[in-house]
């Protein structure tokens, strides 16, 4: 009984050992690499996790140290910083009254081709100039936590400037940068970790020095703003 002879070490069994935890160092890493691209292995791992999940009741609950939650929120940059946001919000308020601001939002519910049972929460915002020319189209997939920006009729900023996209939360909260926009290239990125749809009120585009805001907050004039609908309307 001291050898594995006659016992087939199938991928499914390997997945079982992965979930159990007995796949050792280098084997475990190698398995994780395979796992990334293999639907079969992912399914096997999910199966084993469910099969063995009955063992999770063996773990007795223990209250974590009280400071852990604040450590988590700090790491997620939930804490807000006051000063530069106030200036930005004043700028927004002025722009909102100006006639040059026009933006429309399309709410799109898309059924994903491969997962017909699920609705993907996809939201599209079209940045338009005041003559209604569409400039950029921004698509948010809040569930997949990704977004894309497609230039439509965008013009490049001057050589020393860049356009930067921001998500605006509650008044007073610092805007969250979604990075630089391009006049020519589509962009696809993950949503910033702290981007919160339920708290988001608008998106905005500001004109920054080349390379984007040096401070992490908007420093240049806001060119375009559009309000987002209430989160529970999605």
């Amino acid at each position: 009984m001291s050898s594995d002879e006659g016992q087939e070490y199938s991928p499914e069994l390997r997945a079982g050992e992965y979930v159990l935890g007995t796949l050792s160092g280098a084997d475990r890493e190698a398995f994780e690499v395979l796992l990334r691209d293999s639907l079969r292995l992912q399914q096997a791992v999910a199966d084993w996790e469910e099969k063995l999940s009955g063992l999770n009741t063996v773990y007795k609950p223990v209250s974590p140290p009280p400071q852990t939650w604040s450590a988590i929120t700090q790491r997620l940059e939930f804490e807000t910083d006051g000063a530069s946001s106030k200036r930005f919000w004043r700028g927004i308020a002025l722009l909102a009254t100006a006639a040059s601001l026009v933006m429309s939002i399309l709410l799109v519910r898309q059924v994903l081709v491969d997962e017909p049972a699920l609705l993907s929460q996809v939201e599209t915002a079209i940045v338009r100039a005041d003559n209604e020319t569409p400039i950029w189209m921004v698509v948010f997939d809040w569930r997949a936590r990704a977004f894309s920006v497609q230039p439509v009729m965008a013009k490049a900023a001057t050589a020393e400037k860049d356009y930067e996209l921001w998500l605006l939360g509650p008044e007073g909260a610092p805007p969250i940068s979604f990075g630089l926009l391009s006049a020519t290239e589509p962009i696809q990125r993950s949503l910033p970790v702290q981007a919160d749809r339920s708290q988001a009120r608008a998106i905005a585009v500001s004109l920054e020095p080349k390379g984007g805001s040096p401070s992490g907050a908007p420093t240049g004039p806001v060119m375009y703003v559009a309000p987002l609908p209430e989160a529970n309307a999605i």
């Binding site: 069994l13 050992e17 999770n56 009741t57 773990y59 140290p65 997620l76 339920s198």
Partner: protein
Amino acid sequence: MEDSADLAALLSRVALGDRTAFARLYQAISSHLYGALLRILKQESLAEEALQDVFLKIWQGAGNYRAERGAASTWMYAIARYRALDMLRQARNFNHESEELLELADKAPGPMDLAFAAVKSTALRKCLEELQTAQRDCLMMAYCEGYTHEEVSAHLGSPLGTVKSWIRRGLESLRKCLDR
């Protein structure tokens, strides 16, 4: 713990970036995940660090959770266990394996009977009961304590090859039983 559907609902709101839902999720499940991390890592400082990492992963990955693939708690426990196992692996790289193993062999055998009594799922209990005792002990030790083959072998005083075989046969039998 809140029931499965409630946790899944919270996760889907977390996927939308809902911080209130994230805080409620923490209230609901953090002590369960922390208990698991403490059992595997055996040190409070490591377990606390791991718990932070786990909730960051939950925040970032909530959009990947698919309810039809399994329960929300299963998904989150898995994140916790894998984080703990990764930390153990990193720690082992710096330790003298032989010293550690001697230490383990000196300790009293783990209370696997108590662990078995804590298994609530009737299907799993029944299938675990059908296993040979050695197979069951190996599986539970590996899962609950995060032991490697070597550590289980040292703990039980059985040869390494035998332990590997028990674990593989145990998994096979468990799978066949649960798939019935």
